[in-house]
């Protein structure tokens, strides 16, 4: 009995160690490669996103600009990351936003359903509204989920599954009307 308890204790501690390492692994949240982006005329992106709000899932988070360095996708514990190389939310293309699956960040992203509203608040205080079109769980090898689009698309994702092996992706499109603060 004592051996069994010791073995169980060791397994719990090792598992906790693995989960903790994975939670802070700088390569998590990465896809296999960077998404293909369309060349844009404007090198300076104006009016970048500042806040992501999804009321249905109690998500109201700061948006921090992020870049990809090799296999390392910049992340933040303060909110969610907007991939600078992707489109600004609301512009033509696919705007990519991602964050940790922590309870205080995108842990509730799995509650989002098609038809739910996504609100992006910009640096100048303006807002744009998006509707969720689809959600899916994909492999990190499935980089095509982040590919550019011909419409105004937004893709929000976090990690999911056994040892964060997959990505939970929420895809939305712009609602043409937007409100000014």
């Amino acid at each position: 009995m004592s051996k069994l308890l010791k073995a169980f204790g060791m397994i719990c501690i090792i598992l906790a160690g693995v989960l903790y390492w994975q939670r802070n692994n700088p390569k998590r949240l990465a896809f296999l490669s960077a998404p293909i982006q369309r060349e844009t005329n404007s090198k300076v992106k104006k009016n970048i996103p500042a806040r992501l709000i999804i009321k249905k899932a109690n998500i109201d988070l700061e948006v921090v600009s992020a870049r990809i360095y090799g296999q390392r996708w910049e992340t933040t514990s303060l909110g969610v990351s907007w991939l600078e190389m992707s489109a600004v939310p609301g512009d033509i293309g696919n705007s990519i936003i991602y964050g940790h699956n922590w309870t205080n960040l995108l842990g509730n992203l799995n509650k989002v359903r098609p038809g739910d509203d996504i609100v992006i608040v910009y640096k100048d205080g303006s807002r744009k509204y998006f509707t969720v079109d689809a959600t899916a769980k994909v492999s990190p090898k499935n980089v095509s989920i982040l590919h550019q689009s011909k419409d105004q698309k937004i893709t929000i994702y976090t990690c999911v599954g056994l040892f964060d092996e997959k990505r939970l992706v929420v895809v939305g499109s712009l609602i043409k009307k937007s409100a000014q603060m």
Partner: protein, 195 residues
Amino acid sequence: MRNKSIFFSTIFSLFIFLNLSVPLSFATTTPPEFPSCANPQGSIIANYSSGTHGVPGVVTTYQGVDTVYSVSENIVLQCLCTVDGEGIQTNWWKASSLTEEEIESFKSQGWNFIPDGSAWGLDPAYYLAKNVNYTCRSTGGGESSSSSSSSGVTTTSIGDVLGLAATGNIKIIYGLIFAGFLSLVFGYLLKEKRV
């Protein structure tokens, strides 16, 4: 010596557990990567804005929108969105170059063998088809369903069941550490009591 054997047997058991959580594949060929219906790629070869649609390997038929994309010469993506908001993505893989053994192996991994694709509007060749759930915005006015409630199509992985292996909730990690130390202490105390 005994403690060392306990330690190494624990590590070995964990190693086996982690490896068993990954699906085993004995085929020498790996299936291609399919895009997701959440952001479909390829050219549209068929689009039905309404009607009754079938899904390979599933007896039930569905009412809704069905769009089929040609991704490459051997890959077709079918995106079905039912009136209830249930999404079924079917990955069609032209399997003409596979051996019988490989086909049997993929069948055991959840792929459906379609001997003649022309019955489904595709080329007259062998196909392997696999269904994956997603959720979509329905046009039928119904509530969208969760990704696990599809009739006949379940993609619940061991990761969905074993919530313990999720990294998102730090309380689970703290709980595991606490349980581990508690277990070790009790194990040590029990051993001391016997002595």
